[in-house]
């Protein structure tokens, strides 16, 4: 069983990821999935978007945007496995797989957002 401080730390990441997943992801989905392709709003061209992505603040934003929802997923999925499949006795494996997956995704997000040309 995770310690109290671990639980506080992972819940903090879960909570922050939840805010992004609930507020920012729908905005992006609306803009890039509906409003721009359907012409409801004028779409920015590729060069304009790339110049935005090259700004350090936007890189940090994209990194956080990708990373924190992964921790939200990890926490939610961990408890879904515990309670849904009743496999709490496999706590260590589930813990490692869920948060390990989120860490792996975070490293990949860091690499991609920092190296994008």
């Amino acid at each position: 069983m995770a310690r109290q401080s671990d639980e506080a730390f992972f819940w903090m990441l879960f909570s922050a990821g939840g805010v992004i997943a609930a507020i920012l992801i729908p905005v992006h989905l609306f803009l890039f999935g509906l409003a721009f392709p359907l012409g409801w709003l004028p779409a920015p061209d590729y060069e304009r978007l790339m110049s935005l992505v090259h700004m350090p603040l936007v890189r940090v934003y994209l990194f956080v945007f990708c990373s924190l929802p992964l921790f939200h997923w990890a926490h939610r999925f961990r408890y879904t496995l515990y309670d849904g499949l009743k496999v709490k006795h496999l706590n260590e494996v589930i813990f490692a797989l869920c948060y390990g997956g989120a860490v792996a995704g975070t490293v990949l997000a860091a690499y991609l957002t920092w190296t994008i040309a």
Binding site: M1, A2, Q4, S5, E7, A8, F9, W11, M12, S15, Y79, Y82, D83, K86, K88
Partner: protein, 255 residues
């Protein structure tokens, strides 16, 4: 509305039965009758051995909680007429996740131990003589915790909570909400003493925010809200202790 309704009541006598079974009773339906009235009718007119708890008949004492058609309910506040559409059948069982003593009576010792663990009373660091008068409180300070003080310990929230069913060690919704009621009280100074039990994997961190506790509460307390509120406080407390190991004041969240 039908004249009669069928009650399927769980019966269990530890001296005779290895597991609970159901007995069926036909009960007259009166517009103003609640499920508890039907049980009282059975006990008075049909079978005096039927055993269940009740006292006030007005949603104050919290002792007549039972599963009514699979939902945790106060039977004194659940009208027979609400079930007239259900083939005129009502299934009454003891509250889920509690050991059964007899028929519809559950064993509450475990809940009472959990309740005591969170110290749901005013704790003061100082002892002020009576001559100095009362601890005054503004209406705003009262509003801050009043909602959580409405809990009547009926334990419906425990029967509604799937986490209680999966992990019997989970402190549970009512106990955490009551702890938060005292944490939020301007007269209380005991938050530090409660944090070890509350900010624990078997305390607030065990809650997965299903929210059923709040849904079934007959007094409109919001235990799920209390737990989420406390999670945020615990995280801020943990962050403060991590960043400023010296001199942080645990869980001081009062207005």
């Amino acid at each position: 509305m039908a004249d009669k309704i069928i009650l399927e009541v769980a019966r269990y006598s530890p001296e005779q039965d290895t597991k609970p079974c159901f007995a069926t009773y036909e009960v007259p339906v009166h517009k103003e009758w609640v499920v508890l009235d039907a049980l009282n009718y059975i006990k008075d007119k049909v079978d005096g051995s039927l055993t269940y708890r009740w006292s006030c008949r007005m949603g104050i004492c919290g002792s007549c909680g039972m599963m009514v058609n699979g939902e945790p309910k106060l039977t004194c506040a659940t009208f027979l007429s609400s079930y007239a559409h259900n083939g005129n059948k009502i299934r009454v069982e003891p509250l889920r996740y509690f050991p059964v003593v007899r028929d519809l009576v559950t064993e509450l010792s475990d809940f009472l131990v959990k309740l005591k663990k969170v110290k749901p009373w005013l704790i003061r660091k100082d002892t002020v003589p009576l001559s100095q008068g009362e601890f005054l409180q503004t209406p705003e300070q009262l509003d801050y915790y009043k909602q959580f003080s409405m809990c009547i310990n009926c334990t419906l929230c425990y029967s509604a909570c799937p986490v209680v069913g999966l992990d019997p060690k989970f402190v549970g919704p009512a106990a955490i909400a009551l702890a938060q009621r005292y944490n939020l009280d301007s007269r209380d100074q005991g938050a530090v003493e409660r944090i070890a039990v509350l900010a624990h994997p078997e305390g607030i961190w065990g809650c997965t925010f299903v929210g059923e506790c709040t849904k079934v509460c007959p007094k409109h307390v919001d235990p799920a809200g209390a737990i989420q509120q406390y999670k945020l406080n615990a995280v801020l407390d943990w962050l403060t202790s991590f960043l400023m190991p010296r001199g942080h004041n645990s869980q001081d969240v009062k207005p």
